[in-house]
């Protein structure tokens, strides 16, 4: 990450011999230079001439350093506005960490937004949320649902992804999508290896860029909301509530879902056993690898299927009493998912349900006690008023 604020310049280039996609070099003060590339896997199409996606992917780096960004290339007017708003939103949320950025481009493209049509690309990581988003459109469970043009997989969002070739990394995903006739398009990136994924903002700017890379074929790309709305009420963050700010005039990157509790999402996968068997929320190891079955994310995924009254879709997933009772909630998303799983529990597995209820109850009690201690501390003048 750059250490000095100042004027940054983003210059596009070709992503390497024989490869199609985008490459951007970001140069900043103090000799800072970093490179991001997105290569289209198994595809002969040319990425769009406007750099909306690439700029969005690089923006968090500049937001951390502060200053301005000049783009040597074209940007649509909406993308310019949206990305400016994106930087303002995060700078307001964490002023010490992010800065508002003034963005300029050699050429700002004006003109009406692309016609959205009724087809969309779907960013599909294989998580329960992204699989549910895909399925609810495939099955027409959403009013005004989109036809699925293709599922888009991004390789390189985890460092471990780089150890495996494209064909091996995508084989399982292709097999899972085949029964539903959904083509898989893929993008490989060096974002994780280059340290370009901001832990607070997450992978959305990179995923958005990957979707933009296919914008000559489709005008809309959908990604699953990463949180339940219920989580936002208790653990506010700007990311999940931003209007779709990775969009431009030629391509819209839109969030979908965020309302269904995990058991409901798992239940919707029942007619798609191949997709259900590919579900993994595990963050250990590369994306394509089987889930570890031991981490809290794997346990919550297993609980979602059991709570929906289904058997576990893959053998790696498991949920034991001890594992559920000692689930670690070191993040609001997990806590909200666990609570929603409990609320959405349909039938069966009463012991597991009891263990989850105890774990959720304990977490709620700890939160309540902590809040009241803060209150007493503030009322006694020992601590500043709370919440911050």
């Amino acid at each position: 990450m750059p250490t000095m604020s100042g004027a940054f310049i983003l210059e596009p280039g070709a992503p390497g011999a024989g490869a199609r996609g985008w490459q951007g070099t970001l140069r900043g003060p103090g000799g800072y230079e970093t490179e991001l590339w997105l290569r289209l896997v198994d595809d002969a199409l040319t990425p769009p001439s406007v750099l909306d996606g690439l700029v969005g992917a690089m923006l968090p780096v500049v937001m951390r350093a502060g200053g301005s960004l000049h783009v040597r290339g074209s940007l649509t007017r909406s993308a310019l506005r949206n990305l400016t708003e994106f930087s303002e939103a995060w700078a307001n949320w964490q002023p010490g960490r992010f800065h508002r950025i003034r963005i300029e481009a050699d050429r700002v493209v004006d003109g009406p937004s692309a016609q959205s049509g009724d087809e969309a690309l779907f960013a599909w990581s294989g998580s329960l949320r992204s699989t549910h988003t895909l399925v609810r459109h495939l099955d027409g469970l959403v009013p005004g649902h989109f036809k699925v043009r293709a599922a888009v997989r991004v390789l390189g969002l985890r460092r471990a992804d780089d150890a495996v070739g494209d064909a091996a990394a995508l084989e399982g995903a292709r097999l899972a999508l085949a029964p539903d006739g959904v083509p898989l398009w893929a993008v490989r990136t060096n974002a994780a290896a280059a340290g370009l994924i901001d832990p607070e903002i997450g992978v959305l700017p990179i995923v958005g860029a990957a979707l933009h890379a296919f914008s000559t074929r489709c005008a809309v790309g959908l990604h699953a909301r990463s949180w339940l709305f219920a989580a936002q009420l208790r653990f506010p963050r700007p990311g999940p509530v931003l209007q779709d700010l990775c969009s431009g005039d030629h391509f819209a990157v839109r969030a979908d879902g965020g309302v269904n509790p995990p058991p409901q999402m798992a239940g919707a996968l029942l007619p798609h056993p191949a997709l259900a068997a590919a579900v993994s929320d595990c963050h250990r190891g590369p994306r394509h690898a089987p889930p570890c079955g031991r981490c809290p994310d794997c346990r919550l995924t297993a609980l979602a299927f059991l709570a929906a009254g289904h058997s576990l879709p893959r053998r790696e997933l498991r949920a034991g009493l001890a594992g559920v009772g000692t689930l670690r909630f070191n993040g609001p998303v997990r806590a909200a998912d666990a609570e929603a799983t409990l609320e959405g529990w349909r039938e069966g597995h009463r012991a597991l349900r009891g263990a989850l209820a105890a774990r959720v109850g304990l977490a709620a009690a700890v939160t309540d006690i902590r809040d009241h201690l803060r209150w007493f501390g503030a009322a006694a003048g020992l601590r500043p008023p709370w919440p911050r």
Binding site: G144, L233, W375, P385
Partner: protein
């Protein structure tokens, strides 16, 4: 199985004003099966009818969802608009299932493909209530404070029928008179849209506020591709229950007309600081909606005190839009029974005062008041029960002695 509400659209000119109507038939409850929302656009008679009815219908889907009745729209709608309405209903019904018990469907006669014309000038029209947020949005785009990211504004729209009741034209005229110097300075026309839509779609107020504002803005969709509304709070502040977030506002968009929320990356003190070099804008601010006169700031309601403290945070203790200076009694009288009520004061006000290092009696008093706000009602309820028991078991004199010896912070 409930019957659907049938919806028709009408457009015409009456007494020199363009009038549009959405007619609803078959809605259940209150014994009336026919209702209509109308919009009267003064001084304009040449607006083309939009190719899709999405914007008008979108303002009423929450009302229909409250009734649990599907909407059967006799007119064209766009695919994007239908998807957005579906999302809006889905999200709202999850967040407030008691208000929106059923995920209703919107069924149009035809789903059409629409797009802006290739030579569309890309203009925007902005909603103006006269408050801090909408004034900030108008100024920052009209004065291009965001450079090339600014929208080119074609005008400002004031809605008669929201803050000022539709039968109080006198109050609305006062509001408009207050905003006119600002519009003149920005060299933008103010359009007035009078509407009774709050009587029908507005039953879901305040959640319906932005969808209904979008209805008013969409009257100009033949010349403007975008309707700008201002964010009431920075992104990340959860106000789903009482208000809206940028992503929810955007769901009032469709394939022909886009609703954009602006200014969510700024706190209220940030906005005041940005406007501080434009005294015309600050003088025209009208933030109060509880006072008896919608054209003036009462100065002592929750919103007025919040705004006064925002001014204090921005280093302007005596702002021109209030007739009297801030007094400690204003802060003393704030009603803060629980964190739920106090949250806005924390996030929209206290954090800004603290981050700017403001001090003084007003800040000290606010700190003391906020410090006492309990996180929820559990402990206060228990204390009330203890107090009730104590009053019955301990003689008054003994209670006074105990009270005298309690530290100040425990005397709730």
């Amino acid at each position: 199985m409930t019957r659907p509400i049938h919806v028709w659209f009408e457009d015409g000119v009456e007494k020199g004003a363009q009038v549009r109507r959405l007619i609803f038939e078959g809605h259940e409850g209150e014994g009336i099966s026919r209702a209509e929302s109308w919009w009267r656009i003064f001084g304009v008679t040449d607006l083309s009818v939009p190719p899709v009815l999405d914007s008008f219908v979108s303002g009423h889907v929450l009302w229909a969802a409250m009734n649990g009745q599907d909407l059967r729209v006799h007119g064209p709608m766009s695919h994007g608009g239908l998807y957005n309405m579906g999302q809006l209903i889905e999200i709202r019904s999850v967040l407030s299932p008691e208000m929106y018990p059923r995920r209703i469907s919107v069924i149009p006669d035809q789903v059409v493909t629409v797009a802006r014309p290739a030579d569309d000038p890309g203009l925007a029209v902005a909603a103006l209530s006269g408050g801090l947020d909408s004034t900030f949005t108008a100024v920052r785009h009209a004065r291009r404070l965001v450079g090339a990211a600014a929208f080119r504004l074609a005008g400002l729209v004031m809605v008669h029928g929201f803050d000022a009741p539709i039968d109080r034209a006198d109050q609305f005229d006062e509001m408009r008179r207050r905003a006119e110097p600002l519009a003149q300075w920005l060299e933008l026309p103010i359009y007035t849209v009078a509407t009774n839509a709050k009587l029908t779609g507005g039953r879901a107020w305040p959640q319906a506020a932005i969808p209904l504002t979008a209805c008013a803005l969409a009257q100009f969709s033949d010349r403007c591709a975008v309707g700008l509304v201002s964010a009431g709070a920075p992104h990340g502040i959860p106000r789903f229950g009482i208000s809206h977030g940028g992503f929810l506002d955007a769901l009032s968009s469709n394939d022909f007309f886009q609703v954009v929320t602006d200014g969510g990356g700024f706190g209220r003190a940030d906005k005041i600081e940005a406007l501080s070099c434009f005294p015309q804008a600050l003088a025209a601010l009208k933030v109060c909606w509880e006072g008896p006169d919608p054209a003036r700031n009462c100065g002592h309601c929750q919103k007025c005190v919040l705004t006064r403290l925002n001014f204090l945070a921005a280093g302007l203790p005596d702002p021109p839009c209030f007739e009297t200076p801030l007094e400690l009694a204003h802060i003393e009288r704030l009603d803060l029974p629980s964190m739920y009520v106090a949250r806005d004061l924390f996030r929209l006000c206290w954090n800004e005062l603290e981050s700017r290092g403001r001090t003084g009696p007003a800040v000290d008093l606010l700190r003391r008041r906020l410090a006492r706000v309990p996180p929820n009602d559990h402990v206060p309820a228990a204390l009330r029960r203890v107090g009730w028991l104590t009053r019955r078991l301990v003689p008054a004199k003994a209670r006074h002695v105990i009270r005298r010896h309690l530290p100040a912070w425990l005397r709730l």
